[in-house]
């Protein structure tokens, strides 16, 4: 059902965005290793949820249609950029916006949303 598909895509976007913002912010936190270990677990949990929703969106083992991928990418980028820029505007230092595109591509590939042919 189209309605369900949109619902799962929405959930997927929310969870990937959270995981990406988390990953980029984690790099801005100068913390001790044990804290990183703990937070890696949190990211995995958030990303695991995204994986569950990905498995409900067809085609499961192939890349989604180009139009859908672009739409998902744009929506994720908008959410992630807004979240990070909001922090920068409040005086948060050390956030690298350059990481956004690379991290989005990495996550989309991991979820088999986008499989680029060489």
């Amino acid at each position: 059902m189209v309605q369900n598909r949109n619902k799962f895509i929405g959930l997927l976007i929310g969870n990937i965005s959270n995981a990406i913002v988390h990953e980029i912010l984690e790099k801005a936190v100068s913390s001790k290793p044990e804290i990183s270990i703990k937070y890696k677990k949190e990211i995995r949990n958030s990303f695991e949820i995204a994986k569950i929703y990905r498995s409900k969106i067809n085609p499961v083992n192939k890349s989604l249609p180009e139009k859908d991928v672009q739409d998902i990418k744009n929506r994720i980028k908008r959410i992630v950029t807004n979240e990070l820029k909001l922090r920068i505007s409040k005086g948060y230092k050390g956030i690298s916006l350059d990481l956004i595109d690379i991290t989005i591509d990495k996550k989309l590939k991991e979820l088999k949303l986008e499989i680029k042919c060489l």
Binding site: H22, L25, K93
Partner: protein, 275 residues
């Protein structure tokens, strides 16, 4: 009635301390002191070894207790330089709805994660999540991160946990709190897509941070009470039988309040670093 005590060294006289909460042996009564046998001594040592400390755990299933004992045994056999082992997380909640067993190992020496993880997985068949840290790091964690306080409010440890937080030494790590708070944002973005249990999980996280920033104790019951006061019955939230508009309004107010406090403090931290 018999009491087993240990002779301790005094200035003029040595002594044996006995508990004031005892049936019999009132003050002024003469008692006979005699050494215990080797067998009795072994039994006492064994008992001491098997004594674990329960914090915030009222009841626990016997099978889980058996697993905990095995975990303590395995870890202490692998490495004798371990100061303490603490079991925490959803494993200690009633029932069997846990994903893994969270284990904190306190030690100043280098410990190989993989050896312990493999041994424990073979033994229990359950995935374990190890966090190895020193006493100093734990203390810093408790002082700066609500997750640590929440973890230690309900746990079972091999040895007694003693910590004294010095607010002058440790400062809250607001960037880590921001990461924690971020998890709860998903409720504002995708409330309709989440089930009741997920909404409750993120709400619990939000309120833990709320209490932490207000310097309140973070125990399961404290967090649950606050949730009840602000959002109503836990079961209704978990079943999502709530007024969505009202719930989200309250949630949003708290989220933004916390976000502002955290951002203000990050800005101050950055400012003080620049000076």
């Amino acid at each position: 009635m018999e009491i087993i005590g240990k002779i301790s060294k005094g200035t003029n006289m040595d002594q044996i301390y006995i508990s004031k909460q005892r049936d019999g042996m009132p003050i002024g009564e003469y008692v006979l002191i005699k050494p215990i046998t080797i067998d009795e001594k072994i039994k006492i040592e064994e008992k001491k070894k098997q004594k674990y400390y329960f914090y915030g755990v009222k009841e626990i299933e016997p099978i889980k207790l058996k697993i905990i004992k095995e975990i303590f045994n395995v870890i202490s056999k692998i490495n004798d330089k371990i100061d303490n082992v603490i079991i925490t997380g959803s494993f200690l909640d009633e029932g069997f709805k846990f994903n893994d067993i969270d284990i904190l190992i306190m030690s100043n020496s280098n410990i190989d994660h993989s050896i312990i993880n493999n041994r424990l997985k073979n033994l229990t068949g359950v995935k374990t999540h190890l966090i190895i840290l020193t006493n100093k790091e734990l203390l810093a964690g408790i002082s700066t991160d609500p997750l640590y306080q929440s973890m230690l409010s309900k746990c079972v440890s091999m040895r007694r946990i003693i910590y004294n937080i010095d607010n002058k030494v440790y400062r809250i790590n607001y960037k880590l709190l921001d990461l924690q708070l971020l998890k709860s944002k998903i409720v504002l973005d995708s409330f309709d897509y989440l089930n009741g249990a997920e909404v409750y999980y993120y709400l619990y996280n939000l309120i833990s941070i709320y209490l932490f920033l207000k310097n309140k104790r973070i125990t399961k019951s404290e967090v649950e009470n606050k949730i009840k006061n602000l959002f109503g019955d836990k079961d209704k939230i978990k079943s999502k039988i709530i007024d969505k508009k009202e719930f989200l309004r309250e949630y949003k107010v708290i989220y933004h309040e916390l976000f502002s406090v955290i951002m203000d403090n990050i800005r101050k931290e950055n400012g003080s670093k620049q000076k």
